[in-house]
Subunit: 90 residues, 2 copies
């Protein structure tokens, strides 16, 4: 029981960190408009994957999953938009 | 029951895509050695989060979680190493 609660706590912190981690990438990309090192393939596949996680969360009515994946989906989409903007300018 | 099976399938595809997505980023970063647009803060926080997810998976003995997060942890760590190498060269 204790181990289970402890695991949930670790999982929650892990989920929060992986979600929040995209904030500095968005800020960095927005400020510098330098996305040359960012892989569009990576963000496209990643965002599609997060979108499916979101559908999974919605089907399961799992609110932590829905909230975390909605935020990640939006942040990753902003990076994609900035990357495509940079590619179109070239 | 059908919805539940369908949801698990969607979740599995989502998890596979988010894990696999880091492969093109690693290839891109390794080939170009251009990581100027990649946020070190993002990858540091993200990798820490994935590491905690891995601990969560180990505590829960959840093999899909363990496998997916081990792969993502390694791929994200490679990006961090390449980014730090680039920063040290400057």
């Amino acid at each position: 029981m204790f181990l289970s609660e402890y695991a949930s706590y670790i999982g929650t912190v892990g989920a929060t960190l992986t979600t929040v981690s995209f904030v500095p990438q968005v800020i960095h990309s927005y400020r510098t408009r330098d996305l040359s090192g960012v892989s569009l393939s990576m963000y496209s596949i990643f965002t599609l994957g997060v979108g499916l996680w979101l559908v999974y969360g919605l089907l399961k009515q799992d609110w932590p999953l829905i909230v975390a994946n909605s935020i990640t989906f939006c942040l990753a989409t902003i990076v994609i938009v900035l990357k495509v903007q940079q590619l179109l300018k070239k």
